[in-house]
């Protein structure tokens, strides 16, 4: 039998041996009685013949035992007993440990899921985001998306991409099945899904003809939308649904675990690029590199393609002026973004917390070990070696640490659940965060290292022979106090660091609260997103009419004091667009006017969101005359340019808008 198996079965074996000895006594006693002995005497004689039962059993037990383990188990039991006996000490120590270890484990889970784990696509390390850097008025933009022209050139000419495509995110309206519904959509060219490499659960990906103008429109559903809207009907393929007022054939359903980067679109539409415009940088590129192609190589290749394209299309001048350089990067960067820095700072902060916990618990533990020095010295006097006492202290601290680790793991579980439930908007890959085995091992390592450190300090201060000798009759000496004082100093220092850091964070928060965002009483503002699809109303005048009508109806609802439209809400940078704006008298004729962030708003919006005008007047619907607007505006339903309120330069402008009353905005 295996030594370990025997160790764990040693209790059972002992019981069996005891029964065996009993049977020996019975049999022998019976023989003696047959020889004429009286029952009691026979039993006694049998026992005499057998010898000392307890000693025999002990010898067998020792054969099965492993001394070290036996000792450790005994010490651990002692540790648990001490935890039970001193609830005050235990609560303080365990609470600190659970907090420190729990916070670190939870953070590890987040860091692991967000930063370390690869994206949930096959061979995710081959995936790159395709963007360019360019310089506009001395300002460098690192991740400018592709234009249709670039897409066409790269698709035709790139030697480093296995697959390649571009996509845009948006919302779409589904009509024709029940109530109209607005859903999240991704428009992608044919190469995007094959790049990601996640096959459809049923049906197929977009084909080359799907994203060519003139062919029938197609749509791929997400698993969630398929279940929600169609009850998971497997006969969905081939059905026509109306998305954005265009009938589209359902050609596939993606699997449930499919995520589009960090988005969960309801449907995937085809991205049809009708124009080949060179400077419409609005399409995000995704590519899968050919095996063995490095990022540097792919960047070189892309630069070559862009140069050829510039020459062929006659846009070399633009490329040169803007200093366009390809900036291929691991796709993970697109998903993770800037959050890496935040997490690094958090890791350091929580590392400090862990140190603080360590100092705290060490101090508690030391105080207790100190109080037990009399006990230790008595045991040493009775013959216990210092190794035994050191082992006991270590095992006790390990017991404490592991228990704290278990509590910490529970705390981490709860913390992660809370985090996922809170859904912080700026944490990508939130749904992938989970407590897994690696987190378990981190917790284990955390608690082991902590408790070993704690135990070692205690052993060095109280468990050594010298230390124990000194304890005879002594009460307290300077050396002991020094360690504890040192620990307290460390604790205070760490606490100060954390206090200062959190103070700074709070200050930032307070300062942020004092920023006037350009709207007031957000609790009284309601918002609805609508889109009037091109498929339904084509003429700009029609759109304007519908919107003026809608606004009037909204404003007529009882309890609504004002209503308006905007291309984007305040602080929503995603919906702002860049536009060169020349200011009369300031503009230099030869140079391109500076690019400014612009939002489009309707009359009434300013009143609705409580923005105060410093000078001038609000738009009125009469301003919204299509003919008076410059060409770019003609397609748009909106009256006038509003200026992104966060920009400090937005002091005023006229230029193209001359004659329509210019205004200053409050900042």
């Amino acid at each position: 039998m295996n030594r370990w198996l025997r160790f764990f079965r040693r209790q059972a074996v002992e019981a069996e041996k005891r029964e065996e000895l009993d049977s020996y006594l019975d049999i022998t006693a019976k023989e003696y009685m047959e020889g004429g002995m009286e029952a009691g005497a026979a039993r006694a004689a049998a026992q005499k013949k057998l010898g000392n039962s307890t000693l025999i059993l002990e010898e067998v037990y020792r054969m099965n035992s492993i001394d070290l383990i036996e000792g450790i188990v005994r010490d651990a039991r002692q540790g648990l007993r001490m935890i039970r006996k001193q609830p005050g000490f235990s609560a303080a120590a365990l609470f600190s440990l659970a907090l420190g270890i729990g916070a670190n484990t939870a953070l590890f889970c987040v860091v692991n899921s967000v930063l370390i784990r690869p994206l949930p696509y096959p061979e995710a390390e081959e995936l790159v985001g395709v963007t360019n850097t360019l310089v506009l008025q001395g300002q460098r933009f690192a991740n400018v998306e592709l234009s249709p022209g670039m897409y066409a050139a790269l698709k035709a000419d790139s030697r480093s991409f296995e697959r390649f495509g571009v996509w845009t995110a948006g919302t779409s309206t589904v009509t024709g099945i029940g109530n109209p519904e607005q859903i999240v959509s991704i428009s992608a060219t044919e190469g995007v899904l094959p790049s990601l490499g996640v096959p459809a659960q049923i049906g197929r990906w977009f084909s080359g003809s799907d994203d060519t103008a003139g062919s029938p429109e197609t749509v791929i559903l997400s698993h969630g939308y398929w279940q929600r809207r169609f009850g998971g009907d497997r006969g969905i393929l081939g059905r026509i649904i109306v998305v954005d007022f265009i009938p589209r054939e359902v050609i596939g359903v993606m699997p449930s675990e499919f995520r589009f980067l960090d988005r969960s679109p309801d449907v995937l539409l085809t991205q049809r690029l009708s124009s080949r415009r060179a400077d419409d940088f609005n399409y995000s590129g995704i590519a899968r590199l050919k095996p063995g192609v490095t990022l540097a190589l792919a960047n070189q290749d892309t630069a070559r393609v862009l140069q050829n394209w510039g020459e062929a299309e006659g846009v070399s001048k633009m490329l040169k002026e803007l200093n366009v350089q390809p900036n291929l990067h691991p796709l993970k960067n697109d998903v993770v973004g800037e959050v890496g820095k935040t997490l690094t700072v958090l890791t350091f902060a929580l590392g400090l917390v862990l140190l603080l916990v360590c100092a705290n618990v060490t101090n508690l533990f030391l105080a207790r070990a100190h109080a037990r020095r009399q006990e230790f010295s008595i045991r040493v006097a009775l013959g216990a070696g210092w190794g035994k006492i050191a082992r006991e202290l270590l095992v006790e601290s390990l017991t404490l640490g592991l228990l704290g680790g278990v509590l910490g793991l529970l705390a981490a579980f709860a913390g992660i659940r809370l985090l996922v439930w809170l859904r912080p908007a700026n944490l990508p890959r939130l749904m992938e965060i989970s407590v897994d085995t690696s987190a378990f091992f981190v917790t284990l390592a955390c608690s082991l290292i902590l408790s070993l450190a704690i135990g070692l300090v205690a052993v060095l201060k109280c468990g050594r022979t010298g230390g124990i000798q000194k304890a005879r009759g002594a009460t307290q000496d300077a050396g002991q106090l020094r360690t504890q004082n040192g620990l307290v100093a460390v604790q205070i220092a760490l606490a100060m660091v954390l206090l200062v850091a959190s103070g700074l964070v709070v200050r930032t928060f307070v300062a942020l609260r004092q920023v006037r965002p350009g709207f007031s009483h957000p609790e009284r503002i309601q918002m609805v997103r609508i889109s009037i699809p091109e498929g339904l109303v084509r003429e700009p005048e029609g759109v304007i009419r519908i919107q003026a009508d809608l606004q009037e109806r909204f404003a007529a609802i009882a309890g609504v004091s004002a209503a308006g439209f905007a291309s984007g809400l305040p602080l929503e940078w995603e919906y702002a667009i860049g536009m060169p704006i020349a200011v009369e008298g300031v503009a230099d004729e030869d140079r391109m006017p500076p690019n400014r962030s612009v939002k489009r708003i309707s009359p009434g919006l300013l009143a609705a969101q409580g923005t105060r005008l410093i000078a001038g007047r609000d738009f009125i619907w009469e301003d919204v005359s299509v003919k008076e607007l410059w060409p770019l505006f003609q397609r748009i339903w909106l009256a006038r340019i509003g200026v992104d309120l966060q920009m400090p330069w937005a002091r005023g402008f006229e230029g193209e808008c001359r004659g329509h009353g210019w205004k200053w905005w409050e900042l």
Partner: protein, 118 residues
């Protein structure tokens, strides 16, 4: 640590108890009491066995896989643990017996050199 030494260990030549137990089990399976008595009687009471010390020895042999055990019923209807020889035990017995005989012959030669010459 182990302060207890059984009488068997001290009175008998070390290592011989195992051999004797194996030898006893050669013909048939037996329980502890039978084995103890067999050794005692077989040695014509020369080897006084403290029967209890047999049990740790049996346990050790079982751990090594030289004997196997099962619960059975004794001659006078008492549940008892029986031991039987395993094939490995049989091999060990042969090896130990021949080594023992060699040892005895060697000692005999030293104690009685005349015998060697004859």
């Amino acid at each position: 640590m182990a302060k207890y030494k059984s009488a068997l260990h001290s009175e008998m030549v070390p290592g011989t108890l195992d051999m004797l137990v194996l030898q006893t089990l050669l013909l048939s399976a037996a329980h502890g009491q039978t084995i103890a008595q067999a050794i005692e009687r077989g040695s014509e009471e020369v080897l006084q066995v403290e029967h209890g010390s047999l049990y740790p020895a049996l346990h050790r042999l079982e751990n090594r896989g030289w004997v196997a055990s099962f619960w059975g019923t004794s001659e006078n209807n008492r549940r008892a643990k029986y031991y039987r020889l395993t094939p490995e035990g049989r091999r060990q017995l042969v090896a130990q017996t021949s080594r023992w005989e060699e040892l005895v012959r060697a000692i005999g030669r030293i104690l009685n050199p005349a015998g060697e010459k004859s």
